[in-house]
């Protein structure tokens, strides 16, 4: 059974996953993806993925695939026709820098899906990434969370602009569905409802 929840407007349902996710091959080089090192990456330009990993990542020849950001950037030319055919999506990790995607793909809406991988559910960078993709970079298509995605973060993910949620394999997506509606009237404006409560309602004192 599928573990993918997809939002369509306000209704959420469990649907089949039509996208195949391409992973990077394991690297020999020390992985410096530890949370919080982004500042270092930014300052030093140090890469978190090796050229070898990028070159050897296996992309299925047909069908809809989501490729890692680093692969997308390095091998974009060879994917051109499939990108235009709407067969290619991009995924990034929470430590990666959104500006790199924008730099190489000015019009994000060519991509039918962007996915963000969250390694540990407590890593709240995913919420800022979703918010930026929607409100700053105008991405309108499917925005997916995958990895350590659990019921108790769904409400926040939804409010941060995510529209599909691949629930961790050992948990029931069915159970998780209800959490999308944990709170009916949030106070602050966010992606899904930009207006704060005081602009949505006439609150009397």
């Amino acid at each position: 059974m599928s573990n993918l929840i997809k939002l369509n407007g306000e209704t959420a349902s469990i649907v089949e996953n039509e996208w195949t996710c391409v992973n990077l091959p394991a690297s020999q080089a020390e992985q410096r993806v530890q949370a919080g090192k982004v500042v270092l990456f930014k300052l030093t330009g140090e890469k978190s993925v090796t050229d070898e990993q990028i070159a050897t990542a296996v992309i299925p020849a047909t069908g809809k695939v989501i490729v890692p950001l680093s692969v997308f950037i390095a091998r974009k030319n060879s994917l051109e026709s499939r990108i235009n055919a709407g067969e290619i999506g991009v995924w990034l990790d929470t430590h990666e820098v959104l500006e790199q995607l924008i730099e190489h793909q000015a019009d994000l809406n060519v991509l039918l899906i962007i996915a963000v991988h969250v390694e540990r559910f407590a890593d709240g960078r995913i919420f800022s990434l979703g918010t930026l993709l929607r409100s700053r970079y105008g991405f309108k298509n499917e925005l997916r969370a995958f990895g350590d995605v659990l019921k108790d973060q769904l409400f926040f993910l939804k409010r941060s602009g995510f529209t599909s949620f691949l629930i961790r394999a050992d948990r029931s997506a069915e159970d998780a569905l209800a959490s999308l509606h944990d709170f009916s009237q949030p106070y602050q404006g966010a992606v899904d409802e930009p207006q704060p409560i005081f602009k949505r309602y006439h609150r009397t004192a």
């Binding site: 919080g36 559910f121 890593d123 919420f127 800022s128 990434l129 409100s135 926040f156 106070y187 404006g189």
Partner: protein, 557 residues
């Protein structure tokens, strides 16, 4: 104070339902320990040495009588008949059962209270000056803005899982009483040259392992932008703060690593996009919330009251209490009263259920049914008539709430320490009690005068020891409990971090160490000089010399 409408009420009710389900899933084994931890923490539930500990939010320290009665009932029903008021103006229960917590939250919801975001890596309870709205030196009453920020920060989706906890303090007085420089964000409200409400924003303060005072990130921010500017700051922090090492995860470390100028550039770049976004506060909303904090319906009174003056003249015990526990009020004929939760011989900040009921009753009879919690861990009746002070004193005294030691050496700020806290290196409450016993002479305490003594059981600094005039820190020395002493810390506008005087001491040496520090002060002080002034004038050396002097010294370890 702020009263919930149906929207506020619905949010806390839905939270109770959500948390009830989370607790059920945990108890049924559907949530692992690791998965449940951040969920319970965001609801103020710690698992501590002997029992869970539940931290209940008291937004910016404001309570109604009805709420305090309820807290007293909860402490009686679910705990050991007492609660602990904390340095973040919250109430902590030390012995609730994990499976009872949903019921406790449901009871709290009936009096417009909750435990949302009282711990965990999120935006915490927003704190402010305990004399907000009544202080004569107040420029702006910060409470309406604090309430607007409370609502904005409640379940803010983007900032639900930050690298580390995030504390905001607001203040609207010339003399800062909210320790805003020791917070992740401090907001100082003032009236700008065009007569408008403006904010000076501080960022990157914090105590803990690496005590750092905040830096000014913006001298002038229009109040409408308070929320979006905070969003810009916290977004930069959320994306770039360290998540690999919890001791380096606070915003202060990021601000230090980047430097305030670079950090400010990143925040301003972010804010360029956020400025004027929908979360910009409107005049109407400030006015709506502001209505909840309008002045009490004060009587028109004389500045002096003969019966009060007579009582002070004839009753030295009452006079001593008035001197320490009664504070100026902006309205003629009114005073604010601090009810001391620091009687000698019990844990600082603790109040029994009976005491809570008494205080709630006092507020009902004499102070418009409202009260406040101070970050010094005392309770405040903000609006008492001069003519009622004697009656308040008598009732407070009969219930152990009138120790005239506010601002004196035994008004100790103290964390729960090793008696309760599993992170502790050492116990802190017994040290407080031993010092109170050593200085159990009120005349002597008054002679020593204004001084702040703060105790933390470990470097997490819950007791704010860095900013105590005297700070005591529990340290672990070959698995034994020792105490490091610092002097010269201070909160307020001229905040400073104390300097360690030397090697640490065993628990039983502590009262005499404090005695020696006081002896040096008494000997060296000039007229009208407070302890902190003498330390600042002379430096640490003479204090250190006396404390560690060879002949009298069994102390160094």
């Amino acid at each position: 104070m702020y009263k919930y409408d149906q929207i506020d009420q619905q949010i806390v009710d839905e939270r109770v339902a959500q948390y009830r389900d989370q607790t059920r899933r945990y108890l049924a084994g559907e949530l692992s320990e690791d998965e449940f931890r951040p969920l319970r923490l965001q609801n103020g539930l710690y698992i501590q040495r002997y029992a869970p500990m539940l931290r209940i939010a008291v937004p910016y320290g404001m309570l109604s009588s009805r709420q305090l009665h309820k807290l007293a009932d909860i402490a009686a029903k679910y705990d050991k008949d007492y609660g602990h008021f904390s340095t973040r103006q919250n109430l902590q229960l030390n012995w609730p059962k994990l499976e009872d917590v949903p019921d406790i939250l449901a009871e709290l919801a009936t009096v417009e209270m909750h435990a949302i975001q009282t711990s965990g890596n999120c935006i915490r309870n927003i704190t402010t000056d305990q004399f907000a709205g009544i202080a004569p030196d107040e420029v702006i009453d910060p409470r309406a803005m604090a309430e607007i920020m409370r609502q904005w920060s409640t379940f803010h989706p983007e900032f639900a899982l930050l690298p580390r906890k995030f504390k905001i303090a607001v203040s609207g007085t010339k003399q800062d009483r909210a320790v805003i420089q020791a917070h992740d964000i401090g907001m100082e409200f003032y009236t700008d040259s065009s007569g408008k409400l403006a904010i000076k924003v501080w960022v990157g303060g914090g105590l803990g392992r690496t005590p750092i005072l905040g830096s000014v990130i913006r001298e002038h921010l229009d109040w409408q932008h308070a929320l979006t500017y905070c969003e810009a700051i916290i977004r930069v922090y959320n994306l770039h703060g360290r998540r690999d090492n919890i001791y380096k995860a606070r915003i202060k470390i990021l601000v230090k690593a980047l430097g305030i100028d670079e950090f400010k550039n990143q925040v301003e770049a972010e804010w360029a996009f956020l400025k004027d976004a929908p979360n910009t506060i409107t005049e109407a909303e400030l006015a709506r919330v502001g209505q909840h904090f309008e002045d009490m319906p004060y009587d028109a009174l004389q500045a002096h009251e003969a019966s009060f003056d007579a009582a002070v003249a004839s009753n030295p015990a009452f006079a001593a209490w008035v001197k320490r526990c009664v504070h100026a009020h902006k309205t003629a004929g009114y005073r604010a009263v601090t009810l001391s939760l620091k009687p000698h011989g019990s844990a600082p900040g603790d109040a029994t259920s009976a005491q809570m009921h008494t205080v709630a009753d006092l507020a009902e009879s004499y102070s418009f049914s409202e009260l406040r919690v101070s970050h010094e861990q005392n309770l405040i009746l903000a609006d008492v008539k001069l003519s009622d002070l004697l009656a308040v004193w008598e009732k407070a005294r009969a219930n152990g709430l009138a120790t005239p030691n506010i601002g004196l050496l035994t008004d100790i700020i103290c964390c729960p320490g090793g008696d309760f806290c599993s992170l502790a290196n050492a116990k802190s409450i017994p040290i407080a009690l031993a010092i109170q016993a050593q200085f159990d002479n009120l005349d002597y305490l008054h002679d020593i005068g204004d001084i702040e003594l703060n105790i933390s059981g470990c470097m997490n600094a819950c007791g704010h020891h860095h900013v105590g005039h005297i700070g005591i820190l529990g340290v672990d020395k070959d698995s034994a409990e020792f105490y490091q002493v610092s002097i010269g810390g201070k909160q307020g506008n001229d905040a400073s971090i104390g300097a360690v005087i030397g090697p640490s001491f065993a628990a039983d040496e502590m009262p005499s160490v404090i005695q020696k520090l006081i002896d040096v002060y008494i000997k060296e002080r000039t007229d009208e000089e407070r302890f902190i002034d003498t330390v600042r004038r002379l430096g640490v050396a003479p204090f250190k010399a006396h404390v560690y002097a060879k002949d009298t010294n069994e102390a160094t370890a």
